[in-house]
Symmetry: C2
Subunit: 336 residues, 2 copies
DNA sequence: ATGAAAGCGCTAACAT
DNA sequence: ATGTTAGCGCTTTCAT
């Protein structure tokens, strides 16, 4: 165990233990076809030499890297951080390492990033994000690695995915807001071209209005980006629209809206009600605390990873699309 | 490009291009010793066949994985998420992939995790965290991979590290608080056995008191954990101690303290001043917004990664320990 | 239960 | 400028 030692290989162990490489390999991999005394002897040499199997060589020979790729839009978004945590825990439970790559705008395209992952021979990939470009989607379709979408919408339903039912979740939110007397409710979200917004959230929003006999107007739908200042910036327009409540799809964005409203002297929830969408810790940090759709973020990540292990193992999956239950957690930004 | 295609190897390309594997390898690796016409021909075949070099085989042959390991305490802590983002950006700039592993309590020890990284033949490692166990530290000392500590204290100064000057940063905070009239200032932080707390933050705290002629009392130092409820739980004790201000080392913890104070009807900053330590987005989310030490988190990560590339390249480093400048951002939780 | 030997796909001398 | 070849450290038939 000295810095100048060269790496110990399976050959060294075999020689010192007086057995063949094959036997050492069997011992290391828990193969039963090894006599107990042999196993013990080999183990002793392994300990003595501090032998550590080279995972790269192993990967080349076995064509399995015990590494998966995880693609996410941003490391600093608590939504994805929580999903990633679920993935990480289950991955390490099954002895997989994670190569984490975030979508960078600019340097290196999405496909580049995906191909890098494939070059590294990852055994599977988990994709997260509201959007997926057509190019990347096509690359994924043409590839042989198992892929699971976590908390992300697979527009064509081709891949396995783990989600909540965004349509009913948003419908529940809007219904809550309508029930407490709001007639004009804003919906504040990200890019309306994303399926998750256009095909799910917006649909839930519209369904709830329709069921209540309220008419839908695109003037009440605000498209922006997911950060604090965007929320603050959106507030004036929201307020001017005459809305008395808002569903905001992202917690950070919601915090921006909330604080701008508060700063403008609006009383929350008396004058304006607000519901957000991810139930990250931000909901507890703001004052008043934010009512939110409680997505089981950690579980979504964990279940997605578990699914991926099955796919990588060629086990068959009963349902390719798993919808986890959500709830609505009422806090201080709604009247109740 | 069909799912049933088998992988294209360098041999396939060589054969189809009518050259040797070595030449293909040269083309792929940008070696200049290739005639332009040959290069073109090879490139054409590569494109046609959608050849993608197998990074695992490459790693085995070249003994470089172009992968680094990143160890952090928690993926959902915005402090580390921001550091990781800096690391990630620079890593991808230099074509390195990141294997991200978080310290799990329980399953798999720290050493296990570290050894897994070594088994995967990572070219370097970045370590983050307030603490490091003696066992892991010793393992690291005995290993040959370059290691950089990012935003983490290397107790013995054996490894390269990137930091801010925690002593003076905290001293500045306390001085600010003293200057605005506080005589009794609480310090709220994590495990006091960690060097970063015992040897740095506490020292800065004590120095500032001393310079102002105030006496230090351990009764004003509160040891807890970094989460929201811990902050709320700590508030009563802090208040009871008679402190009129507090330096809290972690943003989430600080938010907990702040909100508990607010909920108790204390006016901030009139009745109680508060300064936190990481300047994450949480500082902007709370009302009032939190005054904070502005650590250049992203830069710390980026610089650490840049250092690591140098170490992996055997370039020599001028300073093993880099201290990045910090500032104090005054917001609403302090009087001025 | 164990060993011999042929790869896995690539890089890196070494020749030419 | 290009080719030949010997590994890199391991797994995996195939024998025995």
């Amino acid at each position: 165990m000295n810095k100048s030692d060269k790496e110990i290989t399976i050959t060294d162990v075999a020689r010192q233990a007086g057995v063949s490489m094959a036997t050492v390999s069997r011992v290391v991999n828990g193969n039963n076809n090894v006599k107990e005394t042999t196993r013990k002897k080999v183990m002793e040499v392994i300990d003595k030499l501090h032998y550590r199997p080279n995972a790269v060589a192993r990967g080349l020979a076995s064509k399995k890297s015990t590494t998966i790729g995880v693609i996410l839009p941003s490391m600093t978004d608590l939504l994805y951080a929580n999903l990633a945590k679920g993935i990480d825990d289950v991955a390490s439970m099954y002895k997989y390492n994670i190569i984490l790559t975030s979508l960078k705008n600019g340097i290196g395209s999405e496909q580049q990033l995906f191909n890098d992952l494939l070059a590294k021979q990852v055994d599977g990939i988990i994709y997260m994000g509201e959007d997926i470009s057509n190019v990347l989607y096509k690359e994924m379709s043409n590839s042989r690695v198992p892929i699971v979408f976590a908390g992300a919408i697979d527009p064509d339903g081709e891949f396995a995915s783990v989600n909540i039912d965004y349509v009913t979740a948003v419908r529940d939110v809007i219904k809550l807001l309508i029930d407490s007397g709001n007639q004009k409710i804003a919906m504040v979200t990200g890019n309306l071209d994303s399926p998750i917004n256009s095909k799910y959230r917006l649909k839930g929003y519209q369904q709830a209005l329709e069921q209540a006999g309220l008419k839908y107007s695109s003037a009440n739908v605000f498209e922006t980006v997911y950060n604090l200042t965007a929320g603050a910036a959106a507030w004036d327009a929201i307020h001017d629209s005459g809305a008395t409540a808002a569903y905001v799809s992202n917690d950070l964005l919601a915090a921006g809206v909330l604080n701008a409203a508060l700063d403008a002297g609006v009383r929350i929830p008396e004058d304006f009600e607000l519901v957000t969408g991810s139930n990250t810790i931000l909901c507890d940090v703001t004052r008043p605390q934010m009512t939110s759709i409680a997505q089981p973020l950690y579980d979504i990540g964990a279940v997605a990873m578990r699914m991926l292990t099955k796919l990588m193992n060629d086990e068959n999956i009963q349902d390719k699309t798993i919808r986890l239950p959500y709830s609505l957690i009422k806090r201080g930004t709604t009247k109740n």
